[in-house]
Amino acid sequence: MKKILALVLCLVMVLGFAACGTTNNEDKTLGMSESPLAIPALTVDYELPEDFKIGFICLHDESSTYDLNFINAVLRYQEATGLKNDQVIIKRNIEETEKCYEAAVELVNQGCNIVFANSFGHEPFIAQAAAEYPDVQFCHATGVTAADKGLANFHNAFASIYQGRYLAGLAAGLKLNEMIAEGKITADKAKMGYVGAYTYAEVISGYTSFYLGAKSVCPTVTMDVQFTGSWYDVEAEKNAALNLMSKDCVLISQHADSMGAPGACEENGVPNVSYNGSTYEACPETFIVSSAINWAPYYNYITKCYAEGKDIDTNWCGGIAEGSVVLTGINQDVAAEGTLAAVNDAIAKFKAGTLNVFDTANWTVGDKTLTNEDNANIKDGYFHESEAISAPSFDLRIDGITLLNEKY
């Protein structure tokens, strides 16, 4: 009797799994679209000496989406240039302490001609090494002091990622419109949530451009922002996302480096606009699109400058034209219909120079449209982002966005 029962149970389970399998297959419909702003191939039109070496200093390792984005760009750059592994040295888990200086000197000792560091807090230590080794070029992502330091071999770089964020925000706004059209929410309830790391310009510029992208198609949108005080804190980011959901945010985006927020969205079925790279594999039910900085064009640029004996720009800011701002494909199972076309349209406007993210006609501070008198970066009717220095500088608190906590 028991044996028969066991057999029946086994059969039930096998059939059950088979049933699951088939329904899953049927559920899969559209999947990811082509990327509207794909990672372009690098043009390597220069000759490098045999003993050329380049070193990269990363704050964490591949488990952080921020560092993974840098490391993946290194690998693409290496493939394009055909450099060998011992010519491209990646040092991971380098803290923002004197360890960073030691790592930079170590790379110089290993024969590197160019040293690149990826984290904001690395900057003073890279500058220190740059002062000591004038024959080596030191390039630092996200930094702000290269112009002030006046060293010929120390450079800052960033990308106009606010344009990518704007495009991602556009996709978010269209999703809100779809929810309104389907009657899931009313227009006045179109509220997004945003998990940010810190309250400084890099994050503020990012979430503001994201919000303006959404607002360009969904005029009633509002947004709550919660900060975590860390670039990588799975629990804090997850809890921030859950808190935003409890405040009726119907769509979440984030500017922090763990899977905390996208994971929480997937668990709760809340659409998510990601950052730094695709989280589609882990979150197929909720992922819409992700913007990212592609660092490979900058690596290629500094290498070309070295090969041709030219000076590297003290402040370099790559945009859509350089291939520095990229988007993943759009998840058509989640995104609203027509998202791809709308994003492509906006990209064309960016390329033509007819679209300014921080056009003062589109945002107010305290119900007032700002002018050059309020902020020196506002000229010709828009805020000139990343022009004086490559790092983002937009740090105004515009109307429509509520900061839930400012302690960071």
Binding site: I89, R92, E95, E96, T97, N109, F120, Q128, Y200, A201
Partner: protein, 370 residues
């Protein structure tokens, strides 16, 4: 009859039995440890063969290159060994007393914070020698205070010192986070102030760490082995009742020892800032306050052995991280390597403390039976 008895006895006797060793020849104990390290290497070789495309022996070679490949790497190796040794030495007197001071991390961090704040707030208003003395004295004092608080609670109300010192770590880290908001820049970092660093000896800053900690190592050995205080610490550690019986004031010993322990942590905190980053971050210790617990235990609280154990840990960390970067291994591979080596070394303590007696050949058994 006899035969039946013999078979019965044979069945009952296990394959081996374990006895405690009363004493062990030092040659045998070194031999056992050597076998353990060899075992760890063999184990890791198999892991590397499965999980990496590189030849394991090439990987081992790169570990040595990462540590001894050039003079700077070697200086960093010894300097980091000195720092880790410094914290381990600081924890040791407390451990010998069986006071489980898990607060090395916090005691170091809070002293670093005070040093960095002095640099920031009074650096420009007092002369350089005054600043250095001020930083040193304040670091020792705050480290001692950070250790004193759990010590007082332990001696007065017998609170659990492990939990208490652990909690003090979090308070110290949160203090850093808080004060960085007060005097850090917009991004929450403190700009380094190398103009207030300690003077460089022989062209770099590594030598001073090594020299200072070497002196402290010798002093600590003498203090624990030959001083009256050291004897009192051992007695309290063996048995508090015995200590009371022979007239040792246990509370006094606990408090005095923790002040020494905390002040030494404070000294390391001072070195990390004044002879290191010249700024404070929450990650300034990089978990070394906890690693030091392991280093001290592995060395059985002996300051001389501690030189070896701290060297071993730093050697493995530096070597495996270089190996991982050069051959692009996953960073967790370095952690696995360190974990396996330490596991084998700790595991082999069993064979040093106990002897395994295998079942004797049956022939002998018969003879005994007859």
């Amino acid at each position: 009859m006899n035969n039946v008895e013999v078979t019965a006895k044979k069945k009952r006797e296990p394959l081996f039995h374990i006895t405690k060793r009363s004493a062990i020849d030092w040659k045998v104990s070194i031999g056992i440890r050597a076998v353990a390290i060899l075992g760890a290497l063999v184990f890791m070789t198999i892991v590397f063969l499965f999980l990496s495309d590189e030849n394991p022996f090439v990987l081992y070679k790169s570990m040595f290159e990462g540590v001894f490949g050039n003079s700077m790497r070697t200086w960093i190796l010894f300097s980091n060994t000195a720092i880790l040794l410094g914290i381990s030495l600081a924890l040791t007197p407390a451990f010998k007393m069986k006071f489980w001071n898990c607060g090395g991390e916090g005691q170091v961090i809070i002293a670093s914070l005070v040093s960095a704040m002095l640099m920031f707030f009074v650096g420009d208003s007092v002369s350089y020698p005054v600043l250095v003395v001020l930083m040193l004295v304040s670091s020792l004092a705050i480290g001692a205070i950070w250790a004193l608080i759990p010590a007082i609670f332990k001696s007065k109300w017998n609170t659990n010192e492990t939990l208490f010192t652990l909690m003090m770590n979090y308070i110290a880290i949160q203090c850093v986070t808080y004060f960085l908001k007060v005097f850090g820049n917009a991004q929450g970092n403190q700009e380094p102030m190398p103009q207030f660093a300690l003077p460089k000896i022989f062209g770099d800053r590594y030598f001073l760490n090594i020299l200072l900690i070497a002196v402290i190592c010798i002093l600590m050995f003498v203090y624990l082995r030959y001083s009256k205080h050291g004897y009192e610490i051992s007695v309290v550690g063996e048995s508090e009742r015995t200590a009371k019986y022979v007239g040792i004031n246990v509370s006094k010993v606990i408090i005095r020892t923790m002040i020494i322990s905390g002040a030494l942590c404070g000294l390391v905190g001072f070195l990390l800032v004044a002879n290191g980053s010249c700024a404070i971050t929450t990650t300034i210790t990089g978990g070394r306050g906890f690693t030091a617990i392991l280093v001290s235990w592995l060395a059985k609280f002996n300051p001389v052995y501690m030189v070896l154990t701290s060297f071993l840990v730093i050697f493995l960390q530096q070597g495996t991280s270089y190996m991982g970067d050069i051959y692009r291994l996953d960073t967790s591979m370095a952690d696995i390597f360190i974990g396996v080596v330490l596991l084998f070394i700790i595991g082999c303590e069993f064979f040093i403390n106990y002897k395994i007696n295998f079942k004797k050949p049956s022939k002998e058994n018969k003879e005994v039976a007859k």
